[in-house]
């Protein structure tokens, strides 16, 4: 045995160490185990992270009001959308404040305050602004933030078809 030990210690001097049988076995078994672990592992991981791969279901346009009813004064309009949440489908009611700008174009604002998510209302304080009841955030008629909030109110995509206003996805404000 002592012969064997001396033999090994001289071997260590050489820069490239030979792989022993034991190491070879360990690497092979470890590699195989890792490979096999992928088969039960991958389906579970893909299963769990599916939300990352879901296409955001873009909302269909919803007919909400006749074009003729919209004036320069913002008007609160409630409408229902079809919402799919996995296996659960529902029709929540959304609110839009719709008005015309100076050149007569119709636009619709989402009343969700950009400060902390309360619901703003038009002209409660008589300032011709959107007011938030929670922390007194204020917005212009274009949705531009005046105080408290640090972003303008979101807009709905708007289309006017055959004299009716249709609303779509909520998008970042392009006016303010």
């Amino acid at each position: 045995m002592s012969n064997h030990e001396t033999h090994e210690s001289t071997d260590n001097v050489s820069p490239r160490k030979a792989v022993t049988r034991r190491q070879f076995l360990a690497y092979t078994l470890g590699g195989t185990t890792a490979f096999l672990a992928v088969f039960p592992g991958l389906p579970m991981v893909r299963f769990a992270v599916d939300a990352l791969f879901q296409k955001s279901n873009s909302k269909d346009l919803v007919k909400v009001i006749a074009e003729s009813e919209i004036t320069n004064e913002p008007k609160e309009v409630k409408f229902q959308i079809l919402q799919k949440d996995g296996w659960y489908e529902s029709s929540p009611t959304l609110v839009a404040w719709i008005s015309r700008d100076a050149s007569g174009n119709i636009f619709a604002l989402s009343p969700i305050c950009k400060h902390l998510g309360c619901t703003v209302l038009w002209n409660v304080k008589g300032l011709n602004e959107y007011d938030c009841p929670c922390h007194d955030a204020r917005y212009t008629r274009d949705g531009k933030h005046i105080t408290v909030a640090d972003a303008p109110l979101d807009e709905y995509e708007v289309e006017v078809i055959d004299g009716y206003v249709y609303l779509g996805n909520i998008i970042a404000n392009r006016r303010a």
């Binding site: 939300a51 949440d85 296996w87």
Partner: protein
Amino acid sequence: MMFKKVYNWIDERLDITPLWRDVADHEVPEHVNPAHHFSAFVYCFGGLTFFITVIQILSGMFLTMYYVPDIINAYASVDFLQHQVPFGQIVRGMHHFGASLVIVMMFLHTLRVFFTGSYKAPREMNWIVGMLIFFIMLGLGFTGYLLPWDNKAYFATKVGVEIAASVPYIGEYIAALLYGGEIVGAQTLTRFFAIHVFFLPGLLILLLAVHFIMIRRQGISGPL
């Protein structure tokens, strides 16, 4: 008598005495024993955290006998188990108030370890494991809060996920993983339920085992 006979019968065959001796039979140093110095009660917070954790696991197991993680029925099932089932108020009360108590005890335990300097070498790894346990406990609190599916639960989760979504670059992916969809909804509830009753408790028990094995290996830190 009977118990002793049964115990001996098993012990002869499996030699179980060293097993439980290892777990239960060890000296408690004087400086951590409140019977010697009353101020040593600060050393009890870790054990109290574990005690309440055990109560959380047990009461939680019993709550799932009635609870369903479904947006139509979740609130009704909680209402039923609390108000219609005998002792429901007690069992849910244990889980509800215990949840806060765990955090309090764990925090006091952390303070004790910090101010006695027990986290220093050679116990650095146990401090890190303790921190992981801390965050798992917070995760349990966050996911459990949604399960009653009332207004408070809904908005707390909405705010919580929005905070997670504000992380630079990866925030929206974290939010999508937490939502399981695009809103706090049916898929969020089932997901939080799974995380709350399987994933985090499994991880917690594993880390607690590591925590306790390490404290047994290294012993309790010396007196100040």
